[in-house]
């Protein structure tokens, strides 16, 4: 049968991947270890929910992601995302966009947009160096942004899942990805451009 789980080699097949994913996103090895175990055990408990529509691996990652989101929630008092975005909108706009020109925000301030040597042209770049810089910069993103950012770009979850789990409107989803990328760009250019 197609939708039957084969649990015999789970730890060997998926253990390291789930562990790495959780460690990267939570920055806490011990917690990651626990969550991997919980993921496997919940998967077995809920095995009748596995309908074979996706691979075993995808299904396990989804369960893990749900657990990670629960951790985010438990970690701190919950400020609704829309409120967070409203509160920070002005300082963000002031920093990046020129409010004196007409229009809602106006052009980006050129000064806050220095080109990144090598990165924004077809240029051989040192991949592992860049990865280090990027990880560092992702670590500096405000938590509310990075949770969404990581769910999208590291776990590869889709917009519908993320919006539902973080209780986000589609519009705010795009705002969050945009802000994250702008902040990352600034951070990378500061380190990389030196």
């Amino acid at each position: 049968m197609k939708n039957e789980l084969n649990t015999r080699e789970w730890a060997e097949h998926y253990g390291d991947y789930l562990f790495s994913l959780a460690s990267y996103k939570l920055n806490d090895i011990e917690l990651a270890r626990d969550l991997v175990q919980e993921t496997f055990l919940s998967a077995i408990k809920g095995k009748e929910n596995f309908r074979g529509e996706c691979s075993e691996k995808t299904w396990l990652v989804r369960i893990l992601n749900n657990k990670i989101i629960d951790q985010y929630r438990a970690g701190k008092k919950e400020v609704p995302m829309s409120e967070y975005l409203n509160q920070t909108e002005k300082s963000f706009a002031d920093h990046y966009f020129d409010l004196d020109t007409p229009g809602e925000y106006g052009h980006n301030k050129i000064a806050s947009f220095p080109a990144i040597p090598g990165l924004e042209s077809d240029f051989a770049i040192n991949q592992s160096e860049l990865k280090k810089v990027l990880d560092l910069c992702i670590g500096k993103l405000p938590g509310s942004l990075s949770n969404v950012f990581l769910m999208k770009y590291v776990s590869g979850e889709n917009a519908d899942f993320i919006c539902e789990k973080f209780n986000l409107s589609q519009a705010n989803y795009w705002v969050i990805l945009h802000r994250s990328k702008l902040l990352l760009r600034t951070c990378i250019s500061k380190i990389w451009g030196r």
């Binding site: 730890a11 253990g15 460690s23 770009y153 990328k181």
Partner: protein, 87 residues
Amino acid sequence: MFKRIMYNCEKAQRLTIKKQESKLTPYEYLQYRIHMQYCLVCRKFEQFSALLNQFLQRGRQGLEDQPPNKLSPEEKKELQRKIDEMS
């Protein structure tokens, strides 16, 4: 409408991201095109965003193919024992 989108980099960049990740409506696409025609900064941002996507995609693949954090053989054995016990 023309002026509003001409000067609105914030919106143009948000549309850029949406375009890269999913699909723009025809009206959004028009706004995006008009802005990009004139705005060097946003073209630069678009390039950055695309590059970042590529890079993150590769990173995601790498994490899957060669997970950097590994459970020890003992941990795996113990984990598998619990799994077998439950299933």
